[in-house]
């Protein structure tokens, strides 16, 4: 159980500031989604939160402690990351890759124990990757690689998980499987989860809170119902009148139609039978 706090975070590549004054908190057992158009700096936030890049200003706190002051191996026991489209070495077997999640728990000369193997094997069971154990990574599909990396982060047994587009390469059944799994873990093990998603519908369905980012600034923050509104989506994505209500659970859904995605024009788009919210 760990609380994540982002305080006045600004991020920059060289002099190019990509994110300004970001503030949010994630409590244990909570799943927070980062959404926004491509190139708004969602992935950069994930990198900063795992201390792969240094903040331009501001800080990230884990239970009140600045992550810049936590040694790498300790940080890796607290925060696990599922990177977007991870590169994996093709000679290692799937089992060896997943087992690497135990690295922050092992001493200098320590060989993986039976317990490490068990943890790995259970993580592979949860992600349905056991049948791939002996395969080499070079032979796998994008979706399989995505599941392996999620298995690896489970093997890492962190208190908080950061995921960068974990469903980008997956079919809808696997998208739901993975997000169900992450949501379940978040609730059961009280993990603090931060996830970036470009699919607004998945974000609305799964996240407790959403942070809508546009052009390096927070545009809106709150529950899916508050953030995914017709006006917000129109302002950020330029897609007018496309937010509806999910017929089953009442959460917002985004439906687009041909010619929908025009920068806020004066004319109404004709031909719709359903009335947008």
């Amino acid at each position: 159980m760990i609380k994540l706090e982002v305080e006045n975070l600004s991020l920059a590549y060289g002099r190019n500031v990509v994110m300004k004054d970001l503030n949010f908190q994630v409590s244990p057992g909570e799943m927070v989604g980062l959404i926004g158009p491509n190139g708004t700096g969602k992935s950069t936030i994930i990198k900063a939160m795992s201390h792969v890049i240094r903040p331009h200003s501001g800080k990230i706190l884990l239970d009140g402690k600045n992550i810049a002051e936590i040694p790498r191996s300790e940080l890796a026991r607290l925060i696990g990351v599922v990177p977007q489209m991870p590169l994996l070495p093709s000679t290692f077997t799937v089992f060896e890759i997943v087992l690497m999640g135990r690295n922050p728990h092992l001493g200098l000369f320590q060989y993986e124990s039976a317990r490490d193997m068990d943890i790995t094997w259970q993580a592979m069971e949860k992600t349905a990757t056991q049948s791939l154990a002996e395969r080499r990574v070079g032979e796998l599909s994008g979706g399989e690689i995505q599941r392996i990396v999620i298995a690896r982060v489970l093997t890492q047994q962190p208190k908080s998980i950061l995921l960068d587009e974990p469903t980008a390469n997956l079919d809808i059944n696997h998208q739901v499987e993975i997000l169900d799994l992450i949501k379940g873990l978040c609730r059961e093990a009280n993990l603090s989860v931060v996830i970036t998603l470009h699919d607004l519908n998945l974000a609305a369905q799964y996240c407790d809170r959403l942070i809508l980012i546009n052009k390096g600034r927070v545009h809106a923050q709150g529950t899916p119902g508050q953030v995914i509104s017709s006006s917000n989506i129109g302002e950020v994505y330029g897609a007018e009148d496309c937010v509806y209500v999910h017929p089953v659970n009442g959460l917002p859904i985004v439906l687009v139609k041909e010619g929908n995605n025009q920068p806020a024009g004066p004319e109404d788009i004709p031909g719709s039978n359903i009335t947008p919210v």
């Binding site: 795992s50 040694p71 000679t91 089992f95 690497m100 690295n103 039976a114 094997w121 154990a133 890492q156």
Partner: protein, 366 residues
């Protein structure tokens, strides 16, 4: 048959734990010990071969008699002992050490750079050493051919200075991008190579000595050289082995490695310094022996897998065995003429490597 099948491990023992998918450390340690034994046998055999024929068991007993706590009454002439202990053995041990150093450094560089073409000479060690050595040849100082003297010292200095320049060129703030490092190394290496070529063709009568050095040779090896190289190889290998699991994780990529708890920049710097030192120590005495540092780690990876915790020690031993055999061929095949060992490494090594590559051609290469 019945007894054998009873002794087989029960498949149910750890089934369902995934442990079957990683070779048990004990099995891997047996492989290392097996190769260690083979190294001993190859060294002993190599010591028996030479212009004076000495039977294998006499050699074996002479070597044994040198060990502490072993008491064997000499039943052999003193000259035989001198040939074995003062002429052949230092040369063979040095060959083994150099082979071990180059293979180990090669495996480290390949892991560090995640590049199958990496070898110990990639970032300018060899070319720097060559330049230092050639300057040594041309200085009007009597350094007794190319024995232990001014040349190894200049070669060692040249190697370290070269890598230091490459490093400072490639470094960006606190970060060392691997691609920049390789590019700077290759570029600077080409510059040193050009200077070496120019100095060589204008060197007149020392040209043959220079060419022999550049292709590598273990002739004129002495214990004094072994005593210098040994601490580098032992110390360097120990440090590298400490970071072998980090090297495994770094195969993912630097970002993922950091997220799995590796201090990537620190590991890169330490491994770079250490493998540069052992490579420089190796080439300074025997010249630029190519090919071993690149091919041995690949062969080991194809045979025993990519886990650096075993890839590194197995490369070290395989490199030592390979180099002792290659040197044996180099000094015997056209005896009394010696062939530069760098030529034989390619002639012996390539068929062996291609055989391994063909046999395992279904496996992914790197």
């Amino acid at each position: 048959m019945l007894i054998m099948s009873d002794n087989r491990p029960k498949p149910s023992a750890r089934e369902g734990s995934g442990a079957v998918y990683l070779p048990h450390w004990r099995r891997r340690v047996y492989t290392v010990l097996g190769l260690l034994l083979l190294t001993g046998v190859v060294v002993t055999f190599a010591t028996t071969v030479g212009s004076v024929q000495i039977p294998f068991f006499t050699t074996f007993r002479i070597l044994l008699s040198q060990l502490p706590l072993v008491d064997i009454t000499p039943s052999w002439p003193g000259t035989t002992e001198t040939i074995i202990l003062e002429i052949r053995l230092p040369r063979i041990i040095l060959a083994g050490l150099v082979g071990a150093a180059l293979a180990m450094a090669g495996a480290t560089y390949q892991g560090l750079f995640r590049n199958p073409l990496a070898d110990p000479y990639l970032i300018g060690v060899a070319q720097g050493a060559a330049l230092g050595a050639v300057i040594g040849f041309l200085l009007p100082i009597d350094s007794r051919g190319w024995g232990f003297g001014i040349i190894p010292m200049l070669a060692f200095t040249g190697a370290l200075v070269s890598v230091a320049i490459v490093y400072s060129l490639a470094r960006v703030g606190k970060v060392l991008p691997v691609t920049t490092l390789i590019l700077a190394g290759v570029a600077l290496g080409a510059l040193w190579g050009a200077i070496v070529s120019y100095l060589t063709i204008t060197s007149g009568e020392t040209m043959q000595g220079i060419l022999f050095w550049l292709m590598g040779s273990f002739a004129l090896s002495e214990w004094s050289e072994v005593r210098v190289v040994l601490p580098y190889v032992v110390g360097g290998a120990t440090v590298i082995l400490l970071y072998s699991r980090s090297l495994n994780v770094m195969q993912l990529d630097e970002e993922q490695a950091q997220q799995l708890g590796i201090n990537v920049e620190k590991v890169k710097l330490i491994l770079l310094i250490v493998s540069t030192l052992i490579t420089a120590a190796a080439v300074s005495f025997v010249g630029i022996i190519g090919f071993v540092g690149m091919i041995i780690p690949h062969a080991v990876r194809l045979l025993w897998g990519p886990d650096h915790r075993f890839l590194l020690p197995l490369s070290l031993l395989t490199g030592a065995i390979f180099m002792v055999i290659v040197d044996l061929v180099a000094r015997t095949i056209l005896a009394p003429t010696e062939i530069p060992v760098g030529i034989i490494t390619a002639i012996c090594g390539v068929p062996f490597f291609l055989y391994v590559l063909r046999r395992r051609r279904t496996a992914v290469f790197f």
